[in-house]
C-alpha cells in the first residue's frame, strides 16, 4: 500500500487515469484471445470434417467444394479468425521465451506481418477458387 502510494505520487496524471502500471497495456490481448476461441469452436468442427473429406481429392472435387458459397465464406471466416487467434498465441510464446528485446521485437513484427500476408493470400485464393 505504501509502495502504491509512493508510485502514485511519482506517476503523471495521464498514467494515473489509464491505471495500467508497468505492463503498458490492459486486458485486450487476454479478452480477444477468448472471444476468438469462442468463435472457433463451431468453425473447428466444420474444418475437421472438411479436411478429412477433402484430403485425397482430385482437382475437380476441390473446385466443386469451393463452388458452394457456404464453404467459401466459412473457409474465409476460419482463415481470418484462426490466424488472428494463432498470432495472439504465438505473440505470448515469443514474449515468454525470447527475453532479448531486439530479437523479441523483430520476431513480433515478423509474426504480425507474416500473419496479415498469409491471411490475404488465403482469402484471395478462396475467392478465386469460388469464382473459377
Amino acid at each position: 500500500m505504501v509502495i502504491r502510494m509512493a508510485l502514485g505520487a511519482m506517476q503523471t496524471t495521464l498514467a494515473k487515469v489509464k491505471g495500467l502500471g508497468s505492463a503498458h497495456n490492459g486486458t485486450e490481448h487476454f479478452w480477444w484471445q477468448r472471444v476468438s476461441a469462442l468463435a472457433l469452436i463451431p468453425l473447428v468442427l466444420w474444418l475437421c470434417f472438411s479436411l478429412a473429406s477433402l484430403g485425397s481429392s482430385d482437382y475437380n472435387s476441390v473446385k466443386n467444394w469451393f463452388d458452394s458459397i457456404f464453404n467459401a465464406i466459412t473457409a474465409s471466416l476460419f482463415v481470418v479468425v484462426s490466424l488472428y487467434h494463432g498470432q495472439l498465441g504465438m505473440q505470448m510464446v515469443i514474449e515468454d521465451y525470447i527475453s532479448q528485446t531486439s530479437h523479441r521485437l523483430i520476431l513480433l513484427i515478423a509474426l504480425k506481418l507474416g500473419t496479415v500476408f498469409a491471411c490475404c493470400f488465403a482469402v484471395f485464393a478462396i475467392i478465386k477458387l469460388w469464382t473459377i
Binding site: R34, I41, C48, Y59, V93, A125
Partner: protein
C-alpha cells in the same frame, strides 16, 4: 556435498502433474496448428492457380503418409479445442480445484480422441 539432500524441483527432476502436461501440450499443439495453417494457406494458393498446379501436389497429399499427418492434425486440432474449452471454464471461475481440473483433463482428451475417430469414420463410411 550430501547426495541425499533435497534438491529444488527443477523441470527435469520434478515429476510433472497431469495438468502441467496438458498445459505444455496445449501450447505445443497451438504452435503446431499455427504452422499447419500456414501450410494450408500454401495449398489454397496452389489450388487457386488451377488444375496444372494442383496436379503437382495432389500425389503428395493423397499419399498415405500425408493422410496420417492430416489424421494427426485433426486430432491436435480437436485436442486444442477441448483443452481450450477447459481454459474458458476456468476463466469464468469454474472447475479450478485440483480434483475437477484433473477430471476435466481426462474428459478433454477422451472427447478429442472420440471426435477425431468419429470424424474419420463418418468420412470413410
Amino acid at each position: 556435498m550430501i547426495k541425499s539432500s533435497p534438491i529444488s524441483p527443477h523441470l527435469q527432476r520434478y515429476k510433472l502433474p497431469l495438468n502441467a502436461w496438458f498445459s505444455i501440450f496445449h501450447r505445443l499443439s497451438g504452435i503446431a496448428l499455427f504452422i499447419g495453417f500456414f501450410l494450408i494457406t500454401i495449398l489454397l494458393v496452389i489450388a487457386s492457380h488451377g488444375e496444372g498446379a494442383w496436379q503437382m501436389v495432389q500425389p503428395i497429399i493423397s499419399h498415405s503418409m500425408s493422410q496420417c499427418i492430416v489424421f494427426l492434425f485433426t486430432f491436435i486440432l480437436y485436442f486444442h479445442l477441448c483443452n481450450g474449452i477447459r481454459h474458458l471454464f476456468w476463466d469464468i471461475g469454474k472447475g479450478l480445484d485440483l480434483a475437477s481440473a484433473s477430471r476435466s483433463a481426462k474428459i478433454a482428451l477422451t472427447v478429442a480422441i472420440l471426435l477425431n475417430l468419429l470424424t474419420w469414420l463418418f468420412v470413410w463410411l
